[in-house]
Amino acid sequence: MYKIYSEYFVLPPGFTKKLLLFMKLTAMLLFLAFMHVSASTLAQKVTLSERNASLTTIFEQIRNQTGYDFAYTTATIQAAKPVTIDVKNMELTEVLKIVFNTQPLDYEIDNKSVEVSIKEPSFLEKLKDKTAKMFAFPAHIHGRVIDSLGQPLPGAIVSLNLQGAPYSYVATTDNKGQFDFPSIPQERYTLTVTYIGFNKLERIVQVNSRDISFILVLHNSSSALDQIQIIAYGSESKRFSVGSVSSITAEQIEKQPVSNPLLALEGLAPGLAVTATNGVPGSTVLVQVRGQNTLGANSLGQKPYDQPLFIIDGVPFAPQNNNVNQLENLALAQTFSGGISQETGLSPFNGINPNDIESISILKDADATSIYGSQGANGVILITTKKGKPGKTTFDLNLNTQFNSVAQPVQLLNTQQYLQLRKDAFAADGLTPSSDPNNYSAYAPDLTVFDQNKYTNWEKIIAGNTTNNTDLHASVSGGTANNTFLVSTGYTRSDYNYPGDFADQRYTLHSALHSTSADKRFTIDLVTDYGYDQNNSAGFGGSQDVVLPPNLPDLIDPAGNLIWNYKGVPLNVQNFYSSLKQPTYLQNFNFNSSLNLSYQILQGLTIGANLGYSRNTTTENSEDPASSQDPSYAEANAAFANSAAQTINIEPQINYNKSIGKGTLSALLGGTYKKNTTDADQTEAYGYSNDNFLGSIDGATTIYPYDVANIVKYSAAFARLKYIYDQEYIIEFTGRRDGSSNFGPGRQFGNFGSVGAGWIFSEEKIFKEALPFFSYGKLSGSYGTTGGDASQAYSYQALYQNLSYIPAYQNIKQSYPYNLYNPDFSWATKKSLNLALDFGFFNNRLLLNATYYRDREGDQLVSYPLPAQAGFPSVFGNLNANVQNQGWEFTVSSTNIKTKDFTWTTNFNLTFNRNKLLSFPNLASSSYSQQYVIGQPTSIVMGYRYKDVNPTTGLFEFYDKNGNVTSSPNYGTAATGGDEVPIANREVNYMGGFGNNFTYKHFSLYVFCQFSSGDAPNYLSAIYGVNFPGAMQNQPEAILNNYWKAPGDHATLQRLASSSNSSSLISAGDFVQSSGAYSNDTYLRVKTAALSYSLPDAFLKKVHVKGGSIYINAQNLLTITNYKVGDPEQPGNYTSFPLQRIVAFGLNLKF
């Protein structure tokens, strides 16, 4: 009986010593956990709830509650056994009966004391005993509690209840999942097994004289509350979590026909902003957790963009979310800016198949992230790939075909409308269009030379196609309880919605092997991901050309040859086909491998290590054939580039789990060694004699090679201690000491840590009794620190570099200063507070969460912008400024209807984030003086307050700093005599998503909507910033009838301008910097709609298939918005490569 203790003492002596040593290490942090709270009243009633407590502890408790003393000698109770008891307000005499029931002891109550002695069975008792043995032997009931995977469940509570009895027999399973009732009277009992995170098991047991042995299998709880989520260096149940973690499951990802897993996160997790940069297959997706923490951005007018740390199967993803291409690529050329400085290009995540992902966890607060120390400041995203499950070997095949088209097309003018606009523009300027280039202001070939009736819809030619994509994924998995495997492979082809043979093709191979030794002590997990992505694109040319004049002459002849001029008017600037004939080929290889070893030394004590290797390499080449270039200067050239990002990650760990008192303790101690290198080289090659040689460097007569290298090393020690007391109180400490090679001597190390606590108040009786529908309530919070280090190695030194592409000067190779010298920077520190309230109703069918957070990042580590006179545009260093992000996150998940045939579930999340510059000493004299305002969001845009169009002059007008109307506002903020004030806030005001899932018999329908709201540049900012109305460029239809024509007109847009000579261009420039160029950008998008039909069993049997379904999945199906012209997700530039609407038709089969 009570094997936990007995086994402990039969261990070899050496182990005990080591264990004690370890205990000492952790003891300091544990003292809180040992505090017992007990009432000191003199009552005869006793309330006790103890598991495996020593007899002396029980005596102590009873004494405290009743005032009764216990008399005994040490020798007497030497043979005593630990006691498990759960009684409430029971008479002392009854309690003592239970306590001594199984003890080899006797007792006697005398006045206010209890005398304990060794049991001397009386004759009568002996006789009674004999009789009992003869007629009703107590039985020995024992067994094992396991989960559905066959893993033991230590700490499960097993009880035998006699109907109507005031108490029950209770045992707790040991680390092998075993429980033991040595002597149970013959009766009919209800056996109950409870274990958090699993459904309760109940069984009627008839005890007769025979011993009974059980193997009891518990099944995972279906409630979202009890689902296991992946966290830093481990996993936990949501029920006992005190950190802020959002999890996205495979089920949610699989329904979205997207090729980049990051795209599948949009709108699903509170606090997570996801932005697709454009619609080019394979292009970068930007991700941000809980707002912008750093000031950053080394050029003014550009907003910086923090991105979280990405970890795949425990291994930091080598390229992180940096674009993998170096050479020009349509993904790079076709981005929208919107004033945010962001990494764009081709995404490294394109090498990971969303179908291979089991879950994605977003770690947001200090409790969840401070264990990552220096790299956790912007949040952490953990991607966990799929593993095999025990059972019959299963083949799973998934195949779909997708159709893509522009999600939000823009309507441009036709030839007639366009030419009229141009004529109006010249008339407004008092000019007559001329065919003479010497006529500087009035030269207009589109009005004087080109065919006036020709109409080409360039938007339709460039982006108006429907493309056909293919996605194929197959996996085989299975195994035994101890050994499982999974191997899957996928192929995805995404065509560009573009004229030309451009596509992104991906091949992936994923495998996961798991093995447990026969004694269950040693486990090994090996996960390997291999991805090969091939992106054929063009260097440039594209959707910005949708605004070419609609009567522009043909740019290619019927045979596909380029046309360079029309009646002497050169078309070389407009001929985008030229660049489309200059292909770039990219091959990206992604390799992630994670080896996890663990060995259980003692019950609850395991040591292990995560060994990870991540490598992402890219090979590119681009070709500019002479045949694609203007013949007068054609020179065949090519470029070649390679890059490799690599991470080696070694993390030894010690885990310790133990039941202490009424609680369970889990402790983690670990170390990190991480080496991250990035290397890139590039070669430009010239002087080819023939276009056909461009694929190789051999044919070049002149080459300019170029390379860069970066190295970062980290070493760290980290620890986490979590104690859950009585399934009600939770306290958690995490800490990390982190060293980074990015800092100069003496500044390399930093300490980070957090404390988290939670109270599951629904465990309180008052809640349980008063509100039966109230099934779960938790109040939790955390506070702690994380840090940020430089992304660039060696920045603390003054460096000189060579530049290869500059030929030597008189045979001397040149050196150039590389940076400004600042040896003094060190860690940025973020302090995070997180408070959360969780509710569960109706047996947790309805779950609500409200979270408040407040993050403050100080010692900002930035590329501090400098005026040109300093010699460099920026210097790397700390800034004594403090940026705060605070906000609210809400989630609701509900099972609305659940019947045999029909279920309806709903998920909803909503996020509000408010950013604020808390402090910035000497802001006024800093480089940021015109960009930031203390007390305002760092995302504000400074500019003029727009009034309207002056009916007399036809020009835009603004308010100056005093509120007077002006047509020529002054640059600069009011403090410097200018008229600029905050006019917009680029921060997302609120965002979220809601999804409904319906299943009816064989049908399942999932509809997920995502929404977002904020200020953003509107289409007018693009028009007046780049494509002036009246210039030789097409315009959105939206401007028609809206511009000023004659004095007295009350128009929304100012008079047209045919050239830079128009005075209206100056006010156009002012307009772009005014509130008139920003609009509310709120949209609701039906992000995902997925309809599937499970094939009926009868049919499956006929075709010998285990399971199968057919489905239609759609992405970006419908958008509701007031945002005019262009896609509200790509604000401010209606000519960037548009986001795509995807409709996929697919088939899933299991064999």
Partner: protein, 466 residues
């Protein structure tokens, strides 16, 4: 696992040690090489003359050697548009604003004109800092390089002060100081220029330090000094400096045919930068010379074309013609080589003797040596195939007009000469108002880039720009 169980004590101890060693020796674990493979430290850069010289030639090749040309010939283009030399065929955009006098402080070309000199000046100051009191370098090396760097520094400040007026005077690399410097007066900038050139004249020998005329010698310093003195009205000094260059005998105008003036090894070149771009030889040729059948990016204005007298060979040699739509379009054609591979190679001319003749001529005219002035003018005219000037040798005004006329045709599209001449002679307003529309008196100075004022609140904007 049997294999593991018999010595699990050892494994345990080993793993615990491994874990502990991570904490104990973590400093060791994050050691990286002292510098990345692609960079060296500043100390290593100035370790000896062989490495130091690579930083010096870095100054001459900043940004593909186009630091002097302000990236894409921006100095030539901007001043040419602001003056009456060229117009843009693109009627939109930042360049057109120079022509139409609608410049704003957010014009990107302005930013280029402002920041390129300062980026190069950092290099110059860093070299001066690196070689000063450097015991690893010989005194003669330090002397030579100091002289060269000061010529470069003076040249950048000369251009900058003429484009923007008084500018921050940066002579150190300490960004904590330099980032907050306000504008100084025009006089203070000129004082610095003259001090640098005075020192350079003392330090530089007549002989060039390397082959060709690729790095400054004494006469390079004097050439710039002559120009500075001319701009300041120091006629005698300007005369003497130009005179000493002409009389040095190292350069010749008469031996240089018009189509050979800008070639590598030109007899006329006092300082010419070798073509060192991978894509073209000079930015000017790449920008100005159109592809066949294409409209040039910039057209020579009728005002300038009209200045060329009948028979002026420079019209044929230095002005190109493109025929589009049966119309003749003229473009700057002093530099002809569009491709890097073209021969004979063209270098980028900084100072040439022709300009020195015209400086001496103007100084002489101002000093009332009118016949001497005309004689110099006629040397330039003769090479262009023109007869001697018909200006009245007794009229200082007429002779000065003849000099300015010759400067306009001889020095067009070079270093902003026309724009600066209009400004320093106070004729910009009258000339440009007559020729073009939109002129306002404040247009003589370009606006400071708005971003620079944002980054350094000590800077003030030039009047007239908001």
């Amino acid at each position: 696992m049997k294999i593991l169980s018999f010595n699990k004590n050892k494994i345990l101890a080993g793993l615990l040690l491994l874990a502990l060693s991570t904490f104990v020796s973590c400093k060791k674990l994050i050691e990286i090489p002292p510098n990345p493979p692609t960079q060296i430290t500043r100390a290593e850069q100035f370790l000896d003359s062989a490495t130091a010289i690579s930083a010096v030639v870095g100054v001459y090749t900043y940004n593909q050697g186009q630091g002097f040309a302000y990236s894409d010939a921006n100095l030539t283009i901007s001043t040419g548009l602001s003056a009456d030399e060229i117009s843009s065929t693109e009627s939109y955009g930042d360049e057109a604003e120079f022509y139409s006098y609608t410049l704003t402080p957010v014009n990107s070309e302005i930013t280029t004109l402002w920041q390129y000199p300062y980026q190069s000046l950092y290099q110059v100051n860093d070299v001066l800092n690196g070689i000063a009191n450097n015991n690893n370098l010989s005194a003669s090396f330090i002397k030579q390089i100091t002289g060269e760097m000061k010529v470069v520094r003076a040249l950048y400040y000369f251009n900058t002060v003429n484009l923007f007026g008084g500018v921050p005077l940066v002579t150190s690399i300490d960004y904590n100081t330099t980032a907050h410097l306000p504008r100084t007066s025009v006089n203070a900038v000129y004082t610095q220029i003259l001090a640098d050139l005075g020192d350079a004249v003392k330090k530089l020998p007549a002989a060039y330090p390397s082959s060709g005329h690729a790095r400054p010698n004494l006469y390079t310093a004097l050439a710039l000094l002559a120009k500075v003195h001319l701009y300041q009205g120091q006629w005698q000094a300007a005369y003497n400096e130009a005179d000493s260059i002409i009389k040095s005998g190292m350069y010749s105008v008469t031996n240089t045919p018009l189509n050979g003036v800008f070639l590598d090894g030109s007899n006329e070149a006092i300082w010419q930068l070798p073509a060192i771009s991978s894509e073209n030889q000079t930015a000017e040729a790449r920008i100005f010379v159109p592809n066949s059948g294409s409209t040039p990016n910039f057209l020579v204005t009728p005002f300038l074309l009209n200045q060329f007298e009948a028979g002026d060979q420079r019209l044929q040699n230095w002005i190109g013609t493109a025929v589009i739509n049966n119309q003749n379009l003229y473009y700057p054609f002093k530099y002809k080589n569009v491709l890097a591979s073209a021969t004979p190679v063209e270098d980028y001319m900084v100072f040439r003797l022709g300009e020195m003749y015209l400086i001496r001529a103007e100084a002489a005219a101002e000093l009332n040596n009118l016949s001497g002035a005309l004689a110099d003018v006629n040397i330039i005219r003769a090479r262009a195939g023109l007869a001697a000037s018909t200006a009245n040798v007794t009229s200082q005004t007429a002779v000065l007009a003849a000099v300015m006329h010759e400067r306009q045709t001889e020095l067009c599209f070079e270093w902003g000469n026309r724009w600066f001449d209009l400004k320093r002679t106070g004729t910009a307003g009258t000339v440009l108002t007559a020729e073009k529309t939109g002129w306002q008196s404040y247009d003589t100075l370009y606006p400071l880039p708005q971003a620079q004022i944002q980054l350094n609140n000590q800077l003030t904007q030039n009047p007239g720009y908001h």
